[in-house]
């Protein structure tokens, strides 16, 4: 089939107790691009993420990943196939150190996690690769600090490093810049741009500067439907998009 598209959804629909949060979404994410999803609060962006990563079961529709129907897959299996997500609210393992957090990703990839009879020293060979990633996101000095003690922006950076440790083919990032200061935004933007080389990124983001800067294609969602799709030029000039944002008082 169209091998050009890494993720494709067909008629994707999700109802929560009669309420249609997402309706008939036909998304096509091209290989090795950064595809952004924007829209006012409650438009259904996170729900689309939850559906694609199978954290939620769609009410109707199909999800295709690299030509394979994954509509019935389990979320962990999907992650193992190379489709890895982050969460809108920062998701770290709070009582583990930064290094341990990243190593959680790495050790799964290296196939060690069932070893209940081995000591933790069997994981030490993974440390170097993890520390390198930690360095890339600017957390070197925090490597042995517990994740709970990090400021919010650093937690987001840690999350990204953990996701990268899986070397995923596709990354779904749900508002990676939310709650970050402008310095952090700059650094994380640059990082996303760099790691997006040879990868596909689907990203939800409210910060239009970041969107303009990073994305190749933008899908605008409103009330569970795709309103407009195109590059930044097209989308930002579309009267319906302006209307949608002004109309709901979103940013």
């Amino acid at each position: 089939m169209e091998n050009n598209y890494v993720i494709e959804t067909r008629g994707l629909t999700k109802e929560f107790m009669g309420f249609r949060a997402v309706e008939d979404i036909n998304l096509k994410v091209r290989r090795d691009t950064i595809h952004a999803m924007i829209g006012p609060n409650g438009a259904g962006k996170s729900t689309v993420f939850n559906l694609i990563t199978k954290f939620h079961q769609p009410t109707a529709g199909q999800i295709i990943f690299k030509g394979e129907d994954i509509t019935r897959d389990r979320p962990a299996a999907l992650a193992r196939k190379g489709l890895v997500r982050s969460f809108q609210i920062s998701a770290v393992f709070p009582e583990m150190t930064v290094l341990e957090n990243v190593r959680m990703a790495r050790m799964r990839k290296e196939g060690k996690p069932y070893q209940f009879w081995r000591s933790l020293t069997t994981l030490h060979p993974l440390n170097d690769a993890c520390l390198e990633l930690i360095d890339q996101v600017g957390l070197s000095e925090y490597a042995h600090v517990s994740a709970a003690a990090l400021p919010y922006g650093r937690k987001r950076a840690l999350e990204l490093a953990t996701t990268l440790a899986l070397e995923p083919e596709v990354m779904l990032l749900d508002e990676p810049m939310a709650g970050l200061g402008s310095e952090d935004i700059k650094r994380i933007s640059a990082l996303i741009r760099r790691v997006a080389q040879g990868r596909t990124v689907l990203m939800v983001e409210h910060n239009m500067g970041v969107i303009a800067d990073l994305s190749d294609v933008i899908s605008v969602l409103q009330r569970g439907r795709v309103l407009v799709e195109g590059d930044y030029e097209t989308v930002s000039k579309d009267p319906r998009v302006i209307e949608a944002y002004v109309g709901t008082g979103g940013d």
Binding site: A79, P113, S119
Partner: protein
């Protein structure tokens, strides 16, 4: 490490203890320390609150009792039979329960355990209300006569410690690391590709196995298997021990078991008031030691600060003064009393 040193000191203490303290009482402490450690493996690391662990403890007891008494198994095989049975039950219950979350997991484990209670109440081999009595202790490897309390003491000590050591190793393994991650943020574990149900099932079965071993040891100590071990009180007690001692710590469940078993022995003469006093102590501990005795004392400074602040905020008068470091005088607890009521 401080904790390792403390652990070694405790082991040495345990070796000389039976010359000062009634060994049957101590064995009861060890058995419950193992049971609570097994329970803690589940709650303290994978974050699963089981409210039905009596089923595994009781199954270990009944099957071992039956194997020793009726089938005439030697000591080691008797224990093994109990462990195998509770492990098998763990597989069965785990498959049913492990996908439920939070309170539903607690409820379904409770329901399954109650089912086992009625099975054991009705089954002909368990002797109903009488239980299985005068279970022979046998010999260790055909060499050491276990009818002697002192001989049995060292065997029970060794087996309990070995069990606790295995649990420690599991916690400090790559697998244990996955359990911790699941306890701390299950969604993130899933998104990293961990099929968390599989890990939960695995740790549930391990916990059932060690709980069964504890139940089996209890039978050998008291030569009796009874409904007390499968009663829901028992499930509650192991939760209590773990919380009192400190959930998610190695020493916590051991300390918790020692505290609760000691209390029960001390308070045996006050009859029904045991529950009230035990409840009050639990309340004090919850207020003064939120992370359990071991959990708080591992960081005494912060414990003192928060406790003082909390006391200061509530009332300017003298607050509840739980004396954390106070050693319990085990020597007075001469009467071994079975748990439960």
């Amino acid at each position: 490490m401080m904790r390792i040193a403390l652990f070694v000191a405790l082991v040495i203490l345990a070796i000389i203890a039976p010359f000062f303290v009634y060994p049957v009482f101590l064995m009861k402490v060890f058995v419950f320390a193992l049971f609570a450690s097994a329970f803690n493996l589940l709650l303290g690391y994978a974050g699963l609150l089981s409210f039905g662990h009596a089923a595994f403890f009781g199954t270990g007891s009944y099957i071992t009792a039956h194997a020793l008494k009726v089938w005439g198994f030697p000591f080691e095989m008797g224990l093994l039979a109990g462990v195998v049975a509770s492990t098998a039950l763990g597989v069965l219950f785990g498959l049913i329960a492990v996908r439920r979350l939070g309170i539903y997991f607690a409820m379904i484990t409770l329901a399954l355990a109650q089912m086992m209670y009625f099975v054991y109440l009705q089954a002909p081999f368990t002797g109903g209300e009488d239980g299985i009595q005068s279970v022979p202790r046998g010999t260790l490897l055909g060499l050491v006569d276990l009818r002697s309390d002192l001989n049995l003491y060292y065997v029970v000590l060794a087996i309990s410690l070995a069990g606790i050591f295995c649990i420690y190793r599991i916690v400090k393994s790559p697998f244990g690391q996955v359990l911790r991650s699941i306890g701390q943020n299950p969604d993130r574990s899933v998104s990293l590709g961990y099929s968390i149900s599989t890990y939960k099932l695995a740790v549930y079965i391990m916990s059932a196995a060690f709980s069964g071993l504890a139940g089996a040891l209890l039978v050998v100590v008291f030569q009796l298997a009874s409904l007390d071990e499968v009663n829901w009180h028992m499930s509650g007690e192991v939760v209590l021990m773990t919380l009192v001692g400190g959930v998610g710590t190695l020493l916590g469940p051991i300390v918790g078991a020692a505290v609760i078993v000691t209390l029960q022995n001390y308070l045996a003469e006050v009859g029904q008031w045991v529950l009230v006093i035990q409840g009050s102590i639990f309340v004090i501990i919850v207020l003064a030691f939120r992370k359990g005795i071991v959990g708080e004392l591992s960081d005494p400074e912060s414990w003192l600060r928060t406790t003082l602040r909390r006391v200061g905020m509530r009332s300017p008068g003298p607050g509840p003064s739980a004396r954390p470091g106070e050693a319990v005088d085990l020597g007075q607890a001469r009467q071994p009393v079975r748990s439960g009521d």
